[in-house]
Amino acid sequence: MPNAASRRHMGARERLQRWLPKLVLSPSCVLVLFFVYGFIAWTSYISFSDSGMLPDYTWAGLRQWTRLWQSWTWGIALHNIWVFGLLYIVACILLGLLLAILLDQRIRAEGVLRTIYLYPMALSFIVTGTAWQWFLNPGLGLEKTMHDLGWQSFSFHWLIDSKMAIYTVVIAAVWQATGFVMAMFLAGLRGIDGEMIKAAQLDGAPIWKIYLRIIVPQLRPVFLSAVVVLAHLAIKSFDLIVAMTGGGPGNATAVPATFMYSYAFSRNEMGIAAASAVFMLAVIAALIIPYLYSELREPRP
Protein backbone atom coordinates (compact mmCIF):
# COMPACT_ATOMS: atom_id res chain seq x y z
CA MET A 1 0.00 0.00 0.00
CA PRO A 2 1.79 3.08 -1.29
CA ASN A 3 -0.19 5.42 0.93
CA ALA A 4 0.87 3.91 4.24
CA ALA A 5 4.43 3.52 3.00
CA SER A 6 4.71 7.17 2.10
CA ARG A 7 3.14 8.12 5.39
CA ARG A 8 5.69 6.06 7.23
CA HIS A 9 8.34 7.62 5.01
CA MET A 10 7.12 11.09 5.94
CA GLY A 11 7.24 10.14 9.60
CA ALA A 12 10.87 9.14 9.28
CA ARG A 13 11.67 12.36 7.47
CA GLU A 14 10.01 14.46 10.09
CA ARG A 15 11.73 12.60 12.83
CA LEU A 16 15.02 13.13 11.04
CA GLN A 17 14.24 16.84 10.73
CA ARG A 18 13.52 16.97 14.43
CA TRP A 19 16.78 15.26 15.31
CA LEU A 20 18.91 16.89 12.66
CA PRO A 21 19.82 20.01 14.67
CA LYS A 22 21.01 17.96 17.61
CA LEU A 23 22.78 15.56 15.28
CA VAL A 24 24.67 18.45 13.68
CA LEU A 25 25.58 19.89 17.06
CA SER A 26 26.69 16.61 18.56
CA PRO A 27 30.19 16.23 17.03
CA SER A 28 31.21 19.56 18.54
CA CYS A 29 29.63 18.64 21.86
CA VAL A 30 31.47 15.34 21.93
CA LEU A 31 34.77 17.02 21.06
CA VAL A 32 34.36 19.72 23.69
CA LEU A 33 33.15 17.32 26.37
CA PHE A 34 36.04 14.96 25.78
CA PHE A 35 38.93 17.30 24.96
CA VAL A 36 38.01 20.09 27.35
CA TYR A 37 36.00 18.75 30.26
CA GLY A 38 37.27 15.19 30.13
CA PHE A 39 40.84 16.47 30.02
CA ILE A 40 40.19 18.84 32.90
CA ALA A 41 38.91 15.92 34.95
CA TRP A 42 41.91 13.79 33.99
CA THR A 43 44.45 16.47 34.85
CA SER A 44 42.68 17.21 38.12
CA TYR A 45 42.83 13.54 39.06
CA ILE A 46 46.51 13.35 38.13
CA SER A 47 47.22 16.22 40.50
CA PHE A 48 46.05 13.94 43.34
CA SER A 49 47.96 10.90 42.10
CA ASP A 50 51.46 9.55 42.32
CA SER A 51 52.30 10.38 38.69
CA GLY A 52 55.87 11.24 37.84
CA MET A 53 57.22 10.57 34.38
CA LEU A 54 54.25 8.36 33.54
CA PRO A 55 50.70 8.56 34.81
CA ASP A 56 50.24 6.47 37.92
CA TYR A 57 46.67 6.37 39.08
CA THR A 58 47.46 5.55 42.70
CA TRP A 59 45.70 8.06 44.91
CA ALA A 60 48.27 10.19 46.70
CA GLY A 61 46.06 12.75 48.35
CA LEU A 62 47.62 16.17 48.61
CA ARG A 63 51.20 15.01 48.13
CA GLN A 64 51.72 16.73 44.76
CA TRP A 65 50.02 19.87 46.02
CA THR A 66 52.29 19.99 49.06
CA ARG A 67 55.33 19.53 46.86
CA LEU A 68 54.09 22.28 44.58
CA TRP A 69 53.65 24.66 47.44
CA GLN A 70 57.07 23.82 48.85
CA SER A 71 58.73 24.46 45.51
CA TRP A 72 60.96 27.52 45.49
CA THR A 73 60.39 28.10 41.78
CA TRP A 74 56.62 28.01 42.22
CA GLY A 75 56.97 30.73 44.83
CA ILE A 76 58.90 32.85 42.34
CA ALA A 77 56.34 32.08 39.65
CA LEU A 78 53.46 33.21 41.86
CA HIS A 79 55.28 36.34 42.90
CA ASN A 80 56.10 37.15 39.27
CA ILE A 81 52.58 36.63 37.98
CA TRP A 82 51.28 38.88 40.71
CA VAL A 83 53.75 41.65 39.88
CA PHE A 84 53.41 41.15 36.15
CA GLY A 85 49.62 40.90 36.19
CA LEU A 86 49.09 43.93 38.36
CA LEU A 87 51.44 46.21 36.40
CA TYR A 88 50.17 44.88 33.08
CA ILE A 89 46.52 45.46 33.92
CA VAL A 90 47.02 48.88 35.46
CA ALA A 91 49.35 50.16 32.74
CA CYS A 92 47.21 48.84 29.88
CA ILE A 93 44.06 50.38 31.32
CA LEU A 94 45.61 53.76 32.10
CA LEU A 95 47.37 54.06 28.74
CA GLY A 96 44.42 52.59 26.85
CA LEU A 97 41.97 54.99 28.46
CA LEU A 98 44.30 57.94 27.88
CA LEU A 99 44.74 57.09 24.19
CA ALA A 100 41.01 56.53 23.77
CA ILE A 101 40.14 59.89 25.32
CA LEU A 102 42.77 61.68 23.25
CA LEU A 103 41.57 59.99 20.08
CA ASP A 104 37.98 60.92 20.86
CA GLN A 105 38.62 64.63 20.27
CA ARG A 106 37.73 64.65 16.57
CA ILE A 107 41.25 63.88 15.55
CA ARG A 108 42.31 64.09 11.93
CA ALA A 109 43.65 60.76 10.68
CA GLU A 110 42.10 58.97 13.63
CA GLY A 111 41.89 55.79 11.57
CA VAL A 112 45.61 55.79 10.82
CA LEU A 113 46.55 56.37 14.46
CA ARG A 114 44.18 53.65 15.62
CA THR A 115 45.71 51.26 13.14
CA ILE A 116 49.19 52.06 14.46
CA TYR A 117 48.22 51.61 18.11
CA LEU A 118 46.49 48.32 17.47
CA TYR A 119 48.83 46.51 15.07
CA PRO A 120 50.96 44.82 17.78
CA MET A 121 47.89 42.82 18.71
CA ALA A 122 48.13 41.05 15.34
CA LEU A 123 51.68 39.88 16.03
CA SER A 124 52.71 36.62 17.60
CA PHE A 125 54.14 36.98 21.10
CA ILE A 126 57.23 35.23 19.78
CA VAL A 127 57.72 38.00 17.23
CA THR A 128 57.09 40.64 19.90
CA GLY A 129 59.51 38.94 22.25
CA THR A 130 62.17 38.68 19.56
CA ALA A 131 61.80 42.33 18.64
CA TRP A 132 61.90 43.60 22.22
CA GLN A 133 64.72 41.33 23.20
CA TRP A 134 66.72 42.97 20.44
CA PHE A 135 65.45 46.47 21.18
CA LEU A 136 66.44 46.20 24.85
CA ASN A 137 69.63 44.28 24.16
CA PRO A 138 72.26 45.37 26.67
CA GLY A 139 75.22 46.52 24.63
CA LEU A 140 73.70 46.84 21.17
CA GLY A 141 70.13 48.02 21.62
CA LEU A 142 68.62 51.02 23.33
CA GLU A 143 71.66 51.43 25.57
CA LYS A 144 74.09 51.86 22.69
CA THR A 145 71.67 54.16 20.90
CA MET A 146 71.55 56.43 23.94
CA HIS A 147 75.34 56.38 24.17
CA ASP A 148 75.59 57.32 20.49
CA LEU A 149 73.19 60.18 21.08
CA GLY A 150 75.55 61.49 23.72
CA TRP A 151 73.99 60.12 26.92
CA GLN A 152 77.09 58.21 28.03
CA SER A 153 75.92 57.26 31.50
CA PHE A 154 72.69 55.66 30.26
CA SER A 155 72.59 52.07 31.36
CA PHE A 156 69.87 49.53 30.71
CA HIS A 157 70.59 45.96 31.72
CA TRP A 158 67.13 44.92 32.85
CA LEU A 159 66.97 42.02 30.42
CA ILE A 160 69.86 40.23 32.13
CA ASP A 161 69.22 41.55 35.62
CA SER A 162 67.30 38.95 37.58
CA LYS A 163 65.59 41.60 39.68
CA MET A 164 64.45 43.69 36.73
CA ALA A 165 63.93 41.19 33.89
CA ILE A 166 60.23 40.72 34.65
CA TYR A 167 59.68 44.44 34.02
CA THR A 168 61.00 44.15 30.47
CA VAL A 169 58.31 41.55 29.88
CA VAL A 170 55.74 43.98 31.32
CA ILE A 171 56.90 46.68 28.88
CA ALA A 172 56.59 44.42 25.85
CA ALA A 173 53.25 43.02 27.01
CA VAL A 174 51.82 46.49 27.61
CA TRP A 175 53.07 47.61 24.22
CA GLN A 176 51.23 44.72 22.65
CA ALA A 177 47.87 45.04 24.41
CA THR A 178 47.32 48.77 24.95
CA GLY A 179 45.84 49.29 21.51
CA PHE A 180 43.24 46.66 22.21
CA VAL A 181 42.24 48.25 25.51
CA MET A 182 42.13 51.60 23.75
CA ALA A 183 39.73 50.15 21.19
CA MET A 184 37.48 48.84 23.96
CA PHE A 185 37.37 52.23 25.67
CA LEU A 186 36.88 54.05 22.38
CA ALA A 187 33.84 51.88 21.64
CA GLY A 188 32.58 52.66 25.13
CA LEU A 189 33.11 56.40 24.68
CA ARG A 190 31.26 56.38 21.36
CA GLY A 191 28.32 54.72 23.04
CA ILE A 192 27.82 57.39 25.68
CA ASP A 193 24.80 59.62 25.38
CA GLY A 194 25.82 63.17 24.55
CA GLU A 195 22.96 64.98 26.32
CA MET A 196 24.42 65.02 29.82
CA ILE A 197 27.75 66.16 28.46
CA LYS A 198 26.17 69.01 26.54
CA ALA A 199 24.30 70.07 29.65
CA ALA A 200 27.53 70.06 31.66
CA GLN A 201 29.27 72.05 28.93
CA LEU A 202 26.49 74.62 29.01
CA ASP A 203 27.02 74.88 32.75
CA GLY A 204 30.61 75.80 31.95
CA ALA A 205 32.26 72.75 33.50
CA PRO A 206 35.89 72.29 32.37
CA ILE A 207 36.64 69.35 30.09
CA TRP A 208 38.71 67.37 32.58
CA LYS A 209 35.91 67.62 35.11
CA ILE A 210 33.36 66.40 32.58
CA TYR A 211 35.54 63.39 31.88
CA LEU A 212 36.24 62.64 35.53
CA ARG A 213 32.72 63.12 36.82
CA ILE A 214 30.46 62.15 33.93
CA ILE A 215 32.21 60.17 31.22
CA VAL A 216 34.65 57.85 32.98
CA PRO A 217 32.07 56.63 35.55
CA GLN A 218 29.83 55.61 32.64
CA LEU A 219 32.61 53.41 31.30
CA ARG A 220 32.38 51.05 34.27
CA PRO A 221 31.34 48.02 32.21
CA VAL A 222 34.36 48.57 29.94
CA PHE A 223 36.68 48.71 32.94
CA LEU A 224 35.23 45.42 34.15
CA SER A 225 35.64 43.74 30.74
CA ALA A 226 39.16 45.07 30.37
CA VAL A 227 40.24 43.84 33.80
CA VAL A 228 38.77 40.38 33.24
CA VAL A 229 40.25 40.01 29.76
CA LEU A 230 43.68 41.34 30.75
CA ALA A 231 43.84 39.30 33.94
CA HIS A 232 43.06 36.12 32.08
CA LEU A 233 45.62 36.99 29.39
CA ALA A 234 48.20 37.67 32.09
CA ILE A 235 47.66 34.33 33.82
CA LYS A 236 47.96 32.54 30.50
CA SER A 237 51.07 34.43 29.38
CA PHE A 238 53.73 32.00 28.28
CA ASP A 239 55.00 32.73 24.77
CA LEU A 240 56.25 36.23 25.48
CA ILE A 241 58.28 35.13 28.48
CA VAL A 242 59.77 32.18 26.63
CA ALA A 243 60.75 34.41 23.72
CA MET A 244 62.11 37.31 25.75
CA THR A 245 63.84 35.80 28.74
CA GLY A 246 63.24 32.06 28.55
CA GLY A 247 62.12 32.31 32.18
CA GLY A 248 65.58 33.52 33.12
CA PRO A 249 68.05 34.74 34.13
CA GLY A 250 67.99 31.57 36.21
CA ASN A 251 64.37 31.26 37.24
CA ALA A 252 63.91 34.98 37.73
CA THR A 253 61.06 35.40 35.26
CA ALA A 254 59.33 32.07 35.79
CA VAL A 255 55.53 32.32 35.79
CA PRO A 256 52.95 29.57 36.42
CA ALA A 257 52.65 28.82 32.69
CA THR A 258 56.40 28.32 32.19
CA PHE A 259 56.61 26.43 35.49
CA MET A 260 53.91 24.02 34.35
CA TYR A 261 55.56 23.53 30.97
CA SER A 262 58.98 22.75 32.38
CA TYR A 263 57.64 20.36 35.03
CA ALA A 264 55.49 18.60 32.43
CA PHE A 265 57.97 18.25 29.59
CA SER A 266 61.53 18.74 30.88
CA ARG A 267 61.43 17.57 34.47
CA ASN A 268 58.89 14.79 33.96
CA GLU A 269 57.01 15.65 37.14
CA MET A 270 53.51 15.10 35.83
CA GLY A 271 51.83 15.32 39.22
CA ILE A 272 53.26 18.71 40.13
CA ALA A 273 52.67 20.00 36.60
CA ALA A 274 49.03 18.91 36.82
CA ALA A 275 48.59 20.57 40.20
CA SER A 276 49.99 23.86 38.89
CA ALA A 277 47.69 23.66 35.85
CA VAL A 278 44.66 23.03 38.06
CA PHE A 279 45.63 26.02 40.15
CA MET A 280 45.79 28.21 37.02
CA LEU A 281 42.41 26.95 35.88
CA ALA A 282 40.87 27.58 39.30
CA VAL A 283 42.05 31.20 39.32
CA ILE A 284 40.80 31.84 35.81
CA ALA A 285 37.49 30.10 36.51
CA ALA A 286 36.96 32.21 39.62
CA LEU A 287 37.45 35.25 37.41
CA ILE A 288 35.66 34.24 34.22
CA ILE A 289 32.62 32.28 35.38
CA PRO A 290 30.95 35.10 37.35
CA TYR A 291 31.76 37.44 34.47
CA LEU A 292 30.30 35.18 31.79
CA TYR A 293 27.31 34.46 34.01
CA SER A 294 26.49 38.13 34.42
CA GLU A 295 27.09 38.83 30.73
CA LEU A 296 24.80 36.01 29.64
CA ARG A 297 22.05 36.65 32.16
CA GLU A 298 21.02 40.23 31.78
CA PRO A 299 19.87 40.97 28.27
CA ARG A 300 21.74 43.91 26.88
CA PRO A 301 19.72 47.01 26.03
Binding site: L113, A122, W132, T145, E295
Partner: protein
Amino acid sequence: MSAVAGRRFTLARALLYTILLLFAVVYLMPLYVMLTTSFKTLEEIHQGNMLALPGQWTLAPWREAWGSACIGLECSGIHGYFFNSIKIVVPAVLISGLLGAFNGYVLTKWRFRGHKIVFGLMLFSCFIPFQIILLPMARVLGILHLANSTAGLVLVHIVYGIGFTTLFFRNFYAAFPDELVRAAKLDGAGFFTLFFRILLPASVPIIVVTVIWQFTNVWNDFLFGVSFASGDSAPITVALNNLVNSSTGVKAYNVNMAAAMVAAVPTLIVYVLAGKYFLRGLMSGSVKG
Protein backbone atom coordinates in the same frame (compact mmCIF):
# COMPACT_ATOMS: atom_id res chain seq x y z
CA MET B 1 29.75 61.37 21.92
CA SER B 2 33.14 62.72 20.82
CA ALA B 3 31.98 66.29 20.91
CA VAL B 4 33.73 67.53 24.00
CA ALA B 5 36.32 69.71 22.34
CA GLY B 6 35.72 71.85 19.34
CA ARG B 7 37.90 71.83 16.29
CA ARG B 8 39.51 75.21 16.87
CA PHE B 9 43.27 75.13 16.62
CA THR B 10 44.62 75.97 20.01
CA LEU B 11 47.68 75.24 22.02
CA ALA B 12 45.80 72.41 23.64
CA ARG B 13 45.14 70.81 20.29
CA ALA B 14 48.77 71.14 19.26
CA LEU B 15 49.72 69.39 22.47
CA LEU B 16 47.09 66.73 21.81
CA TYR B 17 48.51 65.95 18.37
CA THR B 18 52.05 65.93 19.73
CA ILE B 19 51.18 63.34 22.36
CA LEU B 20 49.31 61.18 19.87
CA LEU B 21 52.20 61.33 17.41
CA LEU B 22 54.71 60.50 20.14
CA PHE B 23 52.71 57.41 21.03
CA ALA B 24 52.55 56.47 17.36
CA VAL B 25 56.36 56.72 17.15
CA VAL B 26 56.76 54.54 20.25
CA TYR B 27 54.36 51.97 18.83
CA LEU B 28 56.09 51.86 15.46
CA MET B 29 59.61 51.83 16.89
CA PRO B 30 60.04 48.07 17.46
CA LEU B 31 58.69 47.31 13.98
CA TYR B 32 60.97 49.93 12.45
CA VAL B 33 64.01 48.59 14.31
CA MET B 34 63.11 45.03 13.35
CA LEU B 35 62.77 45.96 9.67
CA THR B 36 65.91 48.07 9.41
CA THR B 37 68.00 45.55 11.35
CA SER B 38 66.92 42.82 8.95
CA PHE B 39 68.46 44.75 6.05
CA LYS B 40 71.79 45.50 7.72
CA THR B 41 75.05 43.60 7.67
CA LEU B 42 76.16 42.13 10.98
CA GLU B 43 79.17 44.42 10.94
CA GLU B 44 76.98 47.48 10.67
CA ILE B 45 74.79 46.21 13.51
CA HIS B 46 77.80 45.97 15.81
CA GLN B 47 79.18 49.37 14.85
CA GLY B 48 76.25 51.49 13.84
CA ASN B 49 73.22 52.89 15.56
CA MET B 50 70.11 50.76 16.05
CA LEU B 51 67.85 53.57 14.90
CA ALA B 52 69.83 54.45 11.76
CA LEU B 53 68.70 53.29 8.35
CA PRO B 54 70.97 50.66 6.82
CA GLY B 55 74.04 52.32 5.29
CA GLN B 56 74.32 49.45 2.90
CA TRP B 57 71.05 47.63 2.22
CA THR B 58 71.39 43.87 1.97
CA LEU B 59 68.92 41.08 1.34
CA ALA B 60 71.34 38.44 2.57
CA PRO B 61 69.76 38.13 6.06
CA TRP B 62 66.35 37.48 4.49
CA ARG B 63 67.82 34.89 2.15
CA GLU B 64 69.61 33.21 5.03
CA ALA B 65 66.57 33.27 7.29
CA TRP B 66 64.37 31.80 4.58
CA GLY B 67 66.73 29.18 3.17
CA SER B 68 69.89 28.43 5.12
CA ALA B 69 69.76 29.47 8.78
CA CYS B 70 70.33 26.65 11.24
CA ILE B 71 67.40 25.61 13.41
CA GLY B 72 68.52 22.78 15.63
CA LEU B 73 70.72 20.57 13.49
CA GLU B 74 68.92 21.36 10.27
CA CYS B 75 70.35 24.24 8.24
CA SER B 76 67.68 25.00 5.70
CA GLY B 77 66.08 28.12 7.10
CA ILE B 78 62.52 28.67 8.17
CA HIS B 79 60.71 28.14 4.87
CA GLY B 80 59.74 24.58 5.75
CA TYR B 81 58.20 25.74 9.01
CA PHE B 82 56.41 28.55 7.23
CA PHE B 83 54.69 25.97 5.04
CA ASN B 84 53.99 23.82 8.10
CA SER B 85 52.07 26.74 9.55
CA ILE B 86 50.08 27.10 6.34
CA LYS B 87 49.34 23.37 6.36
CA ILE B 88 48.03 23.74 9.90
CA VAL B 89 46.15 27.02 9.50
CA VAL B 90 44.09 26.27 6.39
CA PRO B 91 42.27 23.09 7.50
CA ALA B 92 42.03 24.23 11.12
CA VAL B 93 40.36 27.52 10.17
CA LEU B 94 37.98 25.94 7.64
CA ILE B 95 36.82 23.07 9.81
CA SER B 96 36.48 24.97 13.07
CA GLY B 97 34.69 27.76 11.19
CA LEU B 98 32.22 25.36 9.61
CA LEU B 99 31.49 23.64 12.91
CA GLY B 100 31.07 27.01 14.60
CA ALA B 101 28.63 28.17 11.92
CA PHE B 102 26.45 25.09 12.35
CA ASN B 103 26.61 25.31 16.14
CA GLY B 104 25.65 28.97 16.14
CA TYR B 105 22.77 28.19 13.78
CA VAL B 106 21.41 25.35 15.93
CA LEU B 107 21.87 27.25 19.18
CA THR B 108 19.84 30.22 17.95
CA LYS B 109 17.32 28.94 15.40
CA TRP B 110 16.70 25.36 16.55
CA ARG B 111 16.77 25.84 20.26
CA PHE B 112 16.20 22.87 22.51
CA ARG B 113 16.10 22.36 26.24
CA GLY B 114 19.57 22.89 27.64
CA HIS B 115 20.86 25.01 24.76
CA LYS B 116 22.13 27.54 27.26
CA ILE B 117 24.18 24.95 29.10
CA VAL B 118 25.71 23.69 25.85
CA PHE B 119 26.65 27.22 24.87
CA GLY B 120 28.00 27.99 28.34
CA LEU B 121 30.23 24.93 28.24
CA MET B 122 31.56 25.90 24.82
CA LEU B 123 32.04 29.50 25.87
CA PHE B 124 34.02 28.62 28.96
CA SER B 125 36.30 26.44 26.85
CA CYS B 126 37.54 29.63 25.15
CA PHE B 127 39.07 30.86 28.36
CA ILE B 128 40.69 27.82 29.96
CA PRO B 129 44.43 28.04 30.42
CA PHE B 130 45.64 25.43 27.97
CA GLN B 131 48.11 24.10 30.50
CA ILE B 132 45.18 22.11 31.88
CA ILE B 133 44.94 20.02 28.70
CA LEU B 134 48.62 19.71 27.72
CA LEU B 135 49.35 16.46 29.54
CA PRO B 136 46.31 14.42 28.42
CA MET B 137 46.49 15.89 24.91
CA ALA B 138 50.10 14.79 24.53
CA ARG B 139 49.05 11.26 25.48
CA VAL B 140 45.99 11.19 23.23
CA LEU B 141 47.99 12.47 20.25
CA GLY B 142 50.51 9.73 20.96
CA ILE B 143 47.79 7.08 21.01
CA LEU B 144 46.32 8.43 17.74
CA HIS B 145 49.83 8.43 16.17
CA LEU B 146 49.48 12.16 15.63
CA ALA B 147 52.28 13.29 17.92
CA ASN B 148 54.83 15.52 16.16
CA SER B 149 52.68 15.96 13.09
CA THR B 150 50.92 18.91 11.53
CA ALA B 151 47.74 16.80 11.40
CA GLY B 152 47.85 16.53 15.19
CA LEU B 153 48.08 20.30 15.51
CA VAL B 154 45.16 20.70 13.12
CA LEU B 155 43.07 18.54 15.44
CA VAL B 156 44.17 20.52 18.50
CA HIS B 157 43.36 23.86 16.89
CA ILE B 158 39.96 22.66 15.71
CA VAL B 159 39.01 21.37 19.15
CA TYR B 160 40.05 24.51 20.99
CA GLY B 161 38.78 26.83 18.25
CA ILE B 162 35.20 25.58 18.33
CA GLY B 163 34.37 27.69 21.38
CA PHE B 164 35.26 30.96 19.70
CA THR B 165 33.78 30.16 16.30
CA THR B 166 30.54 29.06 17.97
CA LEU B 167 30.49 32.25 20.01
CA PHE B 168 30.92 34.42 16.92
CA PHE B 169 28.22 32.73 14.87
CA ARG B 170 25.81 32.38 17.78
CA ASN B 171 25.94 36.09 18.55
CA PHE B 172 25.57 36.93 14.88
CA TYR B 173 22.61 34.60 14.27
CA ALA B 174 20.93 35.67 17.51
CA ALA B 175 20.46 39.06 15.86
CA PHE B 176 19.15 37.50 12.63
CA PRO B 177 15.35 38.13 12.36
CA ASP B 178 13.38 35.11 13.56
CA GLU B 179 10.40 36.08 11.38
CA LEU B 180 12.38 35.30 8.22
CA VAL B 181 13.34 31.93 9.64
CA ARG B 182 9.79 31.15 10.72
CA ALA B 183 8.39 32.12 7.33
CA ALA B 184 10.87 29.88 5.57
CA LYS B 185 10.04 27.01 7.91
CA LEU B 186 6.33 27.43 7.09
CA ASP B 187 7.21 27.29 3.42
CA GLY B 188 8.66 23.88 4.11
CA ALA B 189 12.35 24.76 4.17
CA GLY B 190 14.29 22.07 5.97
CA PHE B 191 17.26 22.38 8.28
CA PHE B 192 19.94 22.58 5.62
CA THR B 193 17.91 24.54 3.07
CA LEU B 194 17.26 27.19 5.67
CA PHE B 195 20.93 27.36 6.57
CA PHE B 196 22.43 27.38 3.10
CA ARG B 197 19.75 29.47 1.35
CA ILE B 198 18.85 32.03 3.97
CA LEU B 199 21.39 32.38 6.77
CA LEU B 200 24.68 31.61 5.08
CA PRO B 201 24.34 34.20 2.30
CA ALA B 202 23.80 36.84 4.99
CA SER B 203 26.80 35.70 7.02
CA VAL B 204 29.69 37.17 5.05
CA PRO B 205 30.73 39.69 7.74
CA ILE B 206 30.87 37.12 10.52
CA ILE B 207 32.64 34.63 8.27
CA VAL B 208 35.33 37.24 7.66
CA VAL B 209 35.61 37.96 11.38
CA THR B 210 35.85 34.27 12.22
CA VAL B 211 38.40 33.46 9.53
CA ILE B 212 40.60 36.38 10.56
CA TRP B 213 40.35 35.55 14.25
CA GLN B 214 41.10 31.88 13.77
CA PHE B 215 43.84 32.56 11.24
CA THR B 216 45.60 34.98 13.60
CA ASN B 217 45.24 32.72 16.62
CA VAL B 218 46.40 29.56 14.91
CA TRP B 219 49.23 31.25 13.05
CA ASN B 220 50.48 32.92 16.23
CA ASP B 221 50.12 29.87 18.45
CA PHE B 222 53.25 28.80 20.22
CA LEU B 223 52.16 26.71 23.21
CA PHE B 224 50.52 23.89 21.21
CA GLY B 225 53.29 23.94 18.64
CA VAL B 226 56.10 23.66 21.14
CA SER B 227 54.27 21.03 23.20
CA PHE B 228 53.03 18.73 20.44
CA ALA B 229 55.16 19.28 17.34
CA SER B 230 58.81 19.81 17.93
CA GLY B 231 61.22 18.97 15.11
CA ASP B 232 60.29 18.87 11.44
CA SER B 233 56.57 19.48 11.83
CA ALA B 234 56.95 22.54 14.08
CA PRO B 235 55.05 25.70 13.13
CA ILE B 236 56.85 28.93 12.31
CA THR B 237 56.60 30.42 15.80
CA VAL B 238 58.44 27.46 17.31
CA ALA B 239 61.10 27.58 14.60
CA LEU B 240 61.56 31.31 15.14
CA ASN B 241 62.02 30.82 18.86
CA ASN B 242 64.51 28.01 18.29
CA LEU B 243 66.44 30.14 15.84
CA VAL B 244 66.55 33.22 18.07
CA ASN B 245 67.13 31.57 21.41
CA SER B 246 69.56 28.84 20.46
CA SER B 247 72.76 29.51 22.32
CA THR B 248 75.24 28.24 19.74
CA GLY B 249 77.52 30.47 17.71
CA VAL B 250 77.49 34.19 17.05
CA LYS B 251 74.08 35.81 17.29
CA ALA B 252 73.03 36.89 13.81
CA TYR B 253 70.59 39.62 14.82
CA ASN B 254 69.84 40.59 11.26
CA VAL B 255 68.86 37.02 10.36
CA ASN B 256 66.75 36.77 13.52
CA MET B 257 64.89 39.95 12.62
CA ALA B 258 64.33 38.81 9.04
CA ALA B 259 62.92 35.53 10.35
CA ALA B 260 60.68 37.41 12.80
CA MET B 261 59.40 39.53 9.92
CA VAL B 262 58.63 36.40 7.89
CA ALA B 263 56.61 35.08 10.83
CA ALA B 264 54.85 38.44 11.27
CA VAL B 265 54.03 39.30 7.66
CA PRO B 266 50.97 37.06 7.10
CA THR B 267 49.08 38.33 10.14
CA LEU B 268 50.20 41.91 9.51
CA ILE B 269 48.87 41.74 5.94
CA VAL B 270 45.55 40.43 7.19
CA TYR B 271 45.44 43.17 9.79
CA VAL B 272 46.20 45.95 7.33
CA LEU B 273 43.70 44.65 4.78
CA ALA B 274 40.89 43.88 7.18
CA GLY B 275 41.63 45.72 10.42
CA LYS B 276 37.96 46.50 10.98
CA TYR B 277 37.05 42.82 11.05
CA PHE B 278 40.09 41.97 13.15
CA LEU B 279 38.92 44.47 15.74
CA ARG B 280 35.38 43.13 15.67
CA GLY B 281 36.73 39.68 16.41
CA LEU B 282 38.78 40.98 19.30
CA MET B 283 35.85 42.84 20.75
CA SER B 284 33.35 40.02 20.53
CA GLY B 285 36.01 37.71 21.87
CA SER B 286 36.11 39.84 24.99
CA VAL B 287 32.72 41.44 25.42
CA LYS B 288 29.92 39.00 24.94
CA GLY B 289 26.53 40.06 23.74
